[in-house]
């Protein structure tokens, strides 16, 4: 229950609807018990004192009750049944808003697939609980109580018999469906397995054919298919019992009531009309009993799912503005790393990193793969935060600069390009409120994307991603570059962001950037030293800390890692040349 209590504030918003709904349920139930009662009286009338006028009266009553019941069924659905959809909407909105505040440490820990599962499947389970569970539960409960009393009023022994049998409907539902869920999950797992196998086969069909693996692939698929069918049948062996058993249990109750009730009619304890009335009540209870079983299961699923959603919702955003944030609206662009350390778990990736990047200069960060170059650059726009030491811009700790100002000042082009499935234009102007056409043209020119546009049929309006054209790695990187340049950033961060761009274009881009980056600060990393050797300052990272700082020529004479790396790069090319 403790997890579902998080739903209360969401439900509280719709108090009025819920109360009106409850009233509709009560009124609807009141009307629904009229028909069996009238029917019973009519039967007794027909048996003991036939009267056409009374008959007309009874018929009218039944129709009237049906109208009343229908009206309140409509009212119930127009009030409380809608609430579940509103709550679903609110919950999803809140989740999305919350996700936007969480930082990369969170996204690093939690896989996209897992997160998506929570926001889709779990969200759905919660909605189903709210809709089916909570709403149906109310009407079921009202119905059960009212009808039970009416049944007991006719004859309590008979009512006892009925209530000794009927709960088995709910119990079966709970017990069977719990095992069913397990088996169903096994079916789903195998389905996923089989689909993955097929999907990989289709995507890799060239390899399959090149290595003449067709027959063996067919055999492998057949095995997966076999297992899938097997699990399905195992599921059905059990699931197939559910409905027959329901019919059976309800039937038993009917048969016992027919026998015992019949005997009581024969013994003049109750009238035929009362027996018919009782019988009708019994039928009315069938569905509520089944739905009670449903509700119990849904409650469990809903609670488990809500817990998984809350795990995300209760995550506190680590990177945000605080009371210590200063009212800064613009930065100049001088960066300083002061004794910076970052760790993942217990391992320090960076420790004691200190260096300055003067305003308007270009600093390259060099080091072997995995030394922490990206981590270090990510500290500037606070993609992540230092665990010790501080990163300063214009002498102010980045944690005291408003997040909005900070990020507005930084143009970040990451290693892995992420483009939205939208047009190229929308991607390029992604970071600006009111894009200026001239500025857009300039950004496209600098990023060398302009010449590619001619090749694309729809030019800037070409849709990229899932549903559109898939761009080459280089084109994607250059789009990301245009997107960053478009923002006119004070600080530009190029994190190995031209790895898929050919060398010639690379140098064109770099010289273009030099033109527009005057008075702006640039931080850059690259796989090849030749790309960055013209930087004003080169910082070499080794074993998580700064080992060398200087210009290209200075570092070459220093004879450290940088010189070694550069020599190796030259050597390789020399070898190629032979």
């Amino acid at each position: 229950m403790q997890h579902l209590k998080y739903l209360f504030p969401y439900a509280g918003k719709y108090k009025v609807r819920i109360i009106l709904g409850l009233l509709s349920i009560l009124s609807g139930t009141a009307f629904s018990v009229v028909q069996p009662y009238v029917l019973g009286r009519a039967i007794d009338m027909l048996q003991h004192g036939p009267s056409l006028s009374l008959l007309t009266w009874y018929v009218a009553l039944i129709i009237g009750a049906a109208i009343g019941q229908a009206i309140f069924a409509f009212a119930q659905r127009s009030t409380v049944s809608r609430v579940s959809r509103f709550i679903e909407y609110d919950l999803r909105s809140a989740a999305f808003r919350h996700l936007q505040t969480l930082d990369q440490r969170f996204y690093g820990e939690m896989h996209t697939g897992d997160l998506m599962a929570r926001l889709t499947n779990d969200m759905n389970a919660v909605r189903q609980f709210v809709q089916m569970g909570a709403v149906n539960f109310m009407s079921t409960l009202v119905m059960l109580v009212v009808v039970a009393i009416l049944m007991a009023l006719i004859n309590w022994q008979l009512a006892l018999v009925a209530f000794a049998v009927l709960p088995f409907v709910s119990i079966t539902m709970v017990v069977v469906s719990r095992t069913l869920q397990k088996r169903f999950r096994a079916v789903q797992d195998q389905f996923g397995h089989m689909s993955t196998q097929a999907q990989e086969n289709f995507s890799g069909i060239r390899v399959v054919k090149a290595f003449v693996q067709e027959d063996r692939e067919i055999e492998a698929f057949r095995r997966a298919n076999d297992e899938y069918v097997g699990r399905n049948l195992s599921y059905v062996r059990l699931s197939g019992i559910l409905w027959p058993l329901m019919f059976f249990v309800v039937g038993i109750a009917m048969a016992l009531v027919l026998f015992i009730g019949g005997t009581k009619v024969a013994d003049h304890v109750i009238s035929v009309g009362q027996f018919v009335q009782f019988n009708a009540y019994l039928l009315m209870l069938t569905w509520p009993m089944i739905s009670l079983g449903y509700t119990i299961n849904m409650y469990q699923q809903g609670a488990a799912s809500m817990a998984r959603i809350m795990e995300v919702m209760q995550r506190q955003p680590q990177i945000r503005d605080t009371g210590r944030t200063l009212p800064i609206s613009e930065v100049e662009g001088e960066i300083e790393f002061r004794n910076v350390g970052v760790r993942y778990g217990d391992t320090w990736v960076l420790r004691g990193v200190s260096f300055k990047v003067p305003r308007g200069s270009t600093t390259a960060i060099v080091g072997m793969t995995g030394v922490g170059k990206s981590t270090l650059m990510g500290l500037v726009p606070r993609v992540l935060e230092a665990d010790e030491g501080e990163v300063l811009i214009d002498g102010v700790d980045v944690r005291r600069i408003p997040l909005d100002t900070l990020r507005r000042s930084v143009g970040h082009v990451p290693q892995e390009t992420f483009l939205f499935s939208a047009t190229l234009r929308e991607n390029a102007v992604f970071g600006v409120e009111e894009p200026d056409e001239r500025h857009l043209e300039k950004s496209l020119r600098v990023s060398q994307l302009a010449k590619d546009l001619e090749q694309l049929r729809d030019g800037l309006e070409t849709v990229v991603g899932e549903r559109g054209v898939s761009l080459s790695g280089g084109q994607k990187q250059r789009t990301a570059l245009a997107r960053a340049v478009m923002r006119d950033p004070t600080i530009l961060i190029l994190d190995d962001s031209m790895s898929s761009v050919d060398t010639q274009t690379q140098s064109q881009i770099l010289s273009g950037l030099r033109g527009i980056m005057e008075n702006r600060t640039t931080l850059i990393t690259a796989m090849r030293i030749s790309t960055i050797k013209d930087a004003d300052q080169i910082v070499v990272l080794e074993n998580g800390t700064v080992s060398e700082v200087g210009s290209h020529t200075q570092l070459l004479t220093g004879g450290g890692l940088y010189a070694r790396m550069y020599r190796r790069e030259l050597l390789r090319q020399e070898l190629e040349v032979d």
Binding site: P50, L55, V59, G262, V383, Q415, E466, L570, E576
Partner: protein
């Protein structure tokens, strides 16, 4: 940002019955006709036994209760219980056999589709996205199963139940009561049908809109850093809210549809009870006949009540039929695709391939009207290594594809050891001519399973040797589980360089006499891995006929001969120095594409000479 994908299942509503398609489905069902017959028999039994309860109630009321005689009630109880037990067993067995047949048919169909796809030419995969093939294999097959298990059979069941109810009411109760019951049924049928049609549209809206919400969500989660770094949280939330509201509107429509439909069902239920009471009461009061008894009235009400569900079901099943017909249309469309032409009769089977390759005036185009290779002729001697260079679109990749017989050429001949590869079994061609393809495809499994694929003839030792040979052993050994290390879908847990090395190892493990390598321009490969790849490439080429689509300058300097393709024609050949000296097309290409690779080394080049 409006381009989020919509659902693949926006199918157009078509016919609910198409004789041609149904006839094609029959062969899939016939192997299981015995089980199908059993299911039908049990279905009939269930429907009949379901009629017993109300009838026994009628007898109990008329014969015993009204006469205050309890003597026969025990017999009635026993009969009732027997009918229940029988009903329970029949219902279960009917369901079991039906599902069994459905599962078997689906199993066959899926195998059939998958096997057929394996035989289709690459041309087919070029034009059909994987997603749509997956839909055929899963959703469409499921739709057919629904047709079989829930559609046809339960429609028959519903029809039997309805017919049984009508017959019992007509003959065992009274025709007047039966008419009343029959009169309300069309109301339910029409209301259900209208409701189903509306719900179908609403559900489709919900599905499409929800998938948009989820696609947006997925994209935003993946790109959250970008959103945050570019201060786009607010805009993105606005967009999300719009999609979320859109979805909510569709969901509320479904609530509204139910809120109209359910009251109608409730009202019609009450109306039928009232009418039956009216007619039955009149019958009893005015002594219309002996058929009018209290028991008959009660039984008539129960029967009518029980008729509601089958009517609603039948209305429901109509949609199912439409979906199934559309699905089978798509499935058969797929199965009708021409497979790769069969191997020639009495194909030539080469023993001990030396590896001589000859192209004799080869012309080929994916579209025959637009050849990408024109009249290309050359010979590659056994053990010779050859690089193919040319600008993008010169026909390099096509050359590899036709050598593997992924596509057949339009004219000319390709000879392996002087035998036309079309005269050889396709599988043999691919066994002798191994290919390392551009995108290093990995499958989920282990490193070992990725190197030997399904070929159990390749031992663990051979797998390891292959890996050592291509420099992959080192990084594999460092993995926690070594060669048993899990490869995730698409090899996502390996770097591009590592994937390429594994693909090399795979080619070597299969030990083909001729090797084709598409040397991809790999991005983000660090210096060390780059060196490993180059070394591996060099070893691959040694002593084996090899054709390499060269990207690296290194490679083209190490091959015996270079073939230069330009606009589908072979324009020059020779070794690097000869071609440079000739100052022809290669010379220009070299300056354009390769020279910059050595630019930073310019000084070293000078001093080295």
């Amino acid at each position: 940002m409006r381009a989020y994908f919509s659902s693949d299942q926006d199918e157009v509503l078509g016919k609910a019955y198409d004789g041609r398609l149904v006839r094609r489905l029959v062969p899939y069902i016939t192997p299981y006709w015995r089980f199908l017959l059993l299911a039908l028999a049990f279905l009939l039994g269930t429907s009949l036994l379901d009629l017993v309860g109300p009838w026994l109630t009628k007898v109990a009321i008329d014969r015993y209760m009204v006469k205050h005689d309890a003597s026969g009630l025990k017999v009635i109880l026993v009969l009732y219980l027997l009918a229940l037990i029988g009903g329970f067993a029949f219902r279960y067995l009917q369901n079991w056999y039906m599902v069994y047949v459905g599962q078997k048919v689906m199993y066959d169909l899926r195998n059939r589709i998958f096997a057929h796809l394996q035989r289709l030419p690459l041309r087919f995969f070029d034009t059909h996205p994987v997603g749509s093939l997956m839909t055929r294999l899963s959703n469409d097959v499921d739709a057919l199963n629904d047709l079989l298990t829930q559609g046809l059979v339960s429609m028959i069941g519903d029809a039997i139940t309805l017919l049984g109810i009508i017959i019992v009411m007509f003959f065992a109760l009274s025709w007047q009561l039966a008419l009343v019951g029959l009169a309300v049924m069309p109301i339910i049928a029409v209301a259900s049908r209208i409701f189903q049609i509306a719900m179908r549209v609403i559900f489709r809206n919900m599905r499409v809109r929800l998938s948009r919400v989820n696609a947006f969500l997925n994209e935003n989660i993946t790109g959250m850093v970008t959103v945050q770094l570019f201060n786009r949280e607010h805009t993105m939330f606005g967009e999300f809210d719009r999609l979320n509201q859109h979805y909510r509107a569709a969901a509320l429509q479904s609530v509204f549809a139910y809120s109209l439909f359910m009251p109608i069902v409730i009202f019609v239920g009450g109306l039928s009870a009232a009418l039956l009471l009216w007619v039955g009461g009149h019958g009893i009061i005015s002594h219309w006949g002996t058929a009018f008894t209290l028991g008959a009235l009660v039984a008539a009400m129960q029967y009518t009540d029980r008729a509601f569900q089958p009517i609603r079901d039948i209305a429901d099943k109509f949609n199912l039929l439409q979906s199934a017909m559309a699905a089978s249309e798509r499935i058969f469309g797929l199965l009708d695709q021409e497979p790769e032409p069969p191997d020639v009769e009495n194909p030539v089977r080469l023993q001990g391939v030396r590896g001589r390759i000859e192209f004799k005036r080869v012309t080929f185009g994916y579209d025959p009207d637009h050849p990408v290779l024109k009249d290309v002729s050359f010979v590659i001697n056994p053990g010779e290594s050859v690089a193919i260079v040319g600008a993008t679109g010169a026909g390099k990749t096509s050359l590899i594809s036709i050598l593997s017989r992924f596509y057949d050429i339009q004219s000319g001949q390709i000879l392996l050891d002087d035998v036309d590869i079309r005269d050889m079994p396709r599988a043999d061609v691919r066994r002798h001519i191994g290919a390392v393809l551009q995108d290093s495809v990995l499958f989920s499994g282990t490193i070992t399973s990725n190197i030997r694929l399904h070929n159990t003839d390749i031992t663990d030792e051979q797998v390891r040797r292959a890996a050592v040979f291509v420099n992959a052993d080192n990084f594999i050994q460092r993995l926690p589980d070594g060669y048993d290390h899990v490869v995730r879908e698409r090899g996502a847990n390996f770097s591009a360089g590592q994937r390429q090395l594994i693909a090399f190892a795979r080619a070597i493990a299969f030990d083909p006499e001729v090797l084709l390598v598409l040397d991809e321009a790999t991005s983000s490969v660090d210096t060390e891995t780059e060196a490993l790849i180059q070394e591996a490439l060099e070893r691959l080429m040694q002593g084996r006929t090899s054709i390499i689509i060269a990207h690296r300058l290194f490679t083209i300097r190490h091959v015996d001969r270079i073939l230069v393709l330009h606009r589908g024609r072979l324009v020059e050949q020779g070794n690097h120095d000869e071609l440079l000296a000739a100052e022809g097309y290669y010379h220009r290409l070299y300056q354009l594409q390769y020279q910059e690779q050595e630019q930073p080394a310019g000084t070293a080049l000078e001093s080295g000479r």
